[in-house]
Symmetry: C2
DNA sequence: CATGATCGTAAGTCATCGCTTACCGTAGGA
DNA sequence: TCCTACGGTAAGCGATGACTTACGATCATG
């Protein structure tokens, strides 16, 4: 449920750039806007999306608000990826069995 | 580089539905289109995007093409997530140190 | 060889989304 | 108390993208 909004939030290049800029630690909005090719209101809108997805957390300090990566923010997303692609191995085995069955059906011709 | 197209491909709900339907093993296009709320050409377009992102692999068999999850298709995406959010712990430590420094600066007043 | 089934592609339409400018509320310093 | 910095919000615009219908190509089957 939440991993859907998380992956939607991370799909935007500008938002990924924000995430990468937050690797070093929390930053206020103005510091984030400097160096980004978009205006400051655009950054605010992106921060709203990222926060809404549970990827960022805010700590107001005076007039400036520090945005930082939320620990465990991508846990559900990782869990979904694992659920899909770990079963893919089993699917691979299934496909191998299907292939074997197809050969078996072809051989007697 | 590839994780960007992968996350963009997985951002669409219909494409995620396709991925989930492929957990049980490869399927031809018609079988995928049945049960999805979109037309068959739409499914073909989604499959093109997913394949282009390295998430799916195709095995033509006669007139029908079997689409299946590509093993290791999300490896780069997982690596990127780890690189971001594992360093987030270090960032958290950095923020803690920053907080400590702020208190230290406030205390002597 | 002809026919039907499977699937990819092209063109067009409509909604969603990201960006901008303009505006407003709020906290801190002179 | 003014005023300046910081940042969130609203409205409008342009572009990207997802979907549909129509068409064409290919392979198996009668």
């Amino acid at each position: 449920m939440t991993y859907e909004t998380a992956i939607a939030a991370l799909a935007d290049p500008t938002r990924r750039c924000i995430v990468e800029r937050l690797r070093g630690g929390p930053l206020p909005v103005s510091a984030l806007a400097d160096g980004l090719p978009v205006s400051r209101p655009a950054v605010s809108q992106h921060l709203r999306v990222l926060s809404g997805a549970g990827l960022l957390q805010v700590t107001p300090h005076g007039t400036r608000r520090y945005y930082g990566l939320a620990p465990g923010g991508v846990d559900e997303l990782r869990a979904w990826l694992d659920a899909m692609w770990d079963d893919a191995l089993a699917a691979f085995a299934a496909e191998a069995r299907l292939e074997a069955r197809r050969r078996e059906k072809e051989r007697p011709r």
